[in-house]
């Protein structure tokens, strides 16, 4: 049995007094690829922000187990936060070169000379020839690849991905999925992936969770989730019959 990385208990989160997430209990394990699926507004991105320690739940506890003592947003120190990486649905790059964007996190950590590492990473995302291009000139797919590269280069123990392939063409979707698979296989990075694409969840995830209206409907290993869902709403979502 893998180690618990996150333990959520009675977690609730709200914006402007509207509850957007209610999770009685959820454990996320080291080394797994957990896909959070569900329609827009289901609370997937909110949950991801809580997991990234960017926000703290208004109720309940979220413990991240990176070392000996479990941490929360309030007591997470910078070296602990730096073990997490996140890729956003709409990445915003700095108005600098692609190279500078990929190297940004390393520079924050005091690593000045990171050219070789950055070159290798640019090679991995097939963007070596765009190293000196300004970030603002990139296409949507290239932008998302750079966003993924700037997170991957930091070798995070945990990578949180918010719809990393939304609105991308099949070529870019394939590239990003390949990178994620490689990252998981080579470095055993734990991945938590938010997607509304059930096919992507099926291709990548080891476990899948369905969120609806801020509630966790079902969580199960990928095969069980897709082949024998317990909840009728899960079955409806998979078959595309769930109207939302």
């Amino acid at each position: 049995m893998s180690k618990v990385l996150y333990a959520l208990k009675d977690v609730e989160h709200s914006y402007a007094q509207r509850t957007v997430l209610r999770i009685p209990a959820l454990d996320i394990y080291t080394g797994e690829i957990l896909a959070l699926v569900g329609p827009s507004g289901a609370g997937k991105s909110t949950l991801l922000r809580l997991l990234a320690l960017l926000e703290a739940p208004v109720r309940g506890t979220l413990h991240l187990h990176l070392g000996e003592r479990p941490i929360t947003k309030a007591d997470a120190r910078i070296h602990e936060r730096r073990q997490l990486g996140m890729v956003f649905q709409r990445p915003i790059l700095l108005s600098r070169s692609v190279r500078a964007n990929v190297a940004y996190g390393l520079r924050l950590r005091g690593q000045r000379d990171a050219n070789a590492q950055v070159d290798a990473m640019l090679e991995r995302i097939a963007m070596r020839d765009l190293a000196d291009a300004r970030a603002q000139t990139l296409s949507g797919g290239e932008l998302q690849r750079v966003a993924l590269a700037r997170a991957l280069i930091l070798e995070p123990r945990l990578l949180l991905l918010d719809e990393p392939t939304a609105n991308l063409d099949p070529h870019n979707v394939h590239l990003i999925e390949t990178l994620l698979r490689e990252q998981h296989e080579r470095y055993h990075t734990t991945l938590v992936l938010v997607t509304h694409n059930v096919f992507q969840a099926k291709r990548l995830a080891t476990r899948v969770a369905l969120l609806l209206d801020g509630e966790l409907v079902e969580i199960a290993p990928s095969a069980a989730f897709f082949e024998s869902p317990r909840d009728p709403r899960t079955a409806a979502f998979i078959s595309g019959d769930l109207i939302y």
Binding site: L54, I78, R82, M86, I92, Y104, G105, L108, A151
Partner: protein, 197 residues
């Protein structure tokens, strides 16, 4: 100018990035400060530095220091206000994304300020313009003393009053040239930092 930049840029960034009660009122006050009449600033500084004023013991009235104080008060709200608006225009989401890459609060602030550099430089240009063209306040608190507190603008006023229009015009051209050179330097800085110009 240096004092105004040293005060205005960090304060502008801080105000834009730190939500607190009363920020709107403070913002309105800063925007009012951007249009402060220089003569009024000169009068207030004069009253504060005059012998019977609270800072009279400093003996700064009709000195270079008094002129620096007045010009700092005039230029700071301009630099601060423009910096604040430029930082506010940077999407909040960028800060979250930088934090997710492991940036500390300080590193995030620096990066956001860098992204807002076009506006910051515009603020510096505006602040510099207000200082170099200013005449009322420096006349009041500096006294236009030859060799000590006479600057180009006050010299132009004096020469005009004495009917030396050719000298006044020549000084005006020098003032314009200085302004052009300084602003060109700022535009080059803008270009070198990669901000669109």
């Amino acid at each position: 100018m240096l004092a105004s930049a040293a005060l205005g840029i960090p304060l502008g960034a801080w105000l834009a990035l730190t939500p607190f009660r009363g920020r709107r009122i403070l913002t309105a006050l800063i925007y009012t400060g951007m249009g402060l009449p220089p003569v009024l600033v000169g009068l207030i500084v004069y009253l504060f530095l005059s012998r019977s004023g609270p800072f009279g013991s400093l003996g700064w009235l009709f000195s270079f220091q008094a002129m620096v104080v007045a010009q700092t008060i005039i230029a700071t709200p301009l630099i601060l206000g423009v910096t604040m608006s430029s930082v506010l225009a940077i999407p909040h989401e960028l800060r979250l994304q930088l934090q997710s890459l492991g940036a500390t609060h300080w590193q995030t602030t620096l990066a956001v300020l860098w992204e807002a550099r076009l506006g910051v430089i515009v603020g510096l240009v505006a602040g510099f313009g207000s200082i170099i063209s200013e005449v009322g306040a420096v006349m009041l608190v500096g006294g236009n003393i030859e060799g000590r507190t006479r600057v180009l603008t006050t010299a132009i006023v004096l020469e005009t009053r004495q009917g030396h229009f050719d000298v006044a015009l020549a000084l005006g051209i020098i003032l314009l040239a200085l302004s052009f050179v300084s602003n060109s330097a700022l535009v080059i800085l803008q270009h070198r930092t990669g901000a669109p110009s």
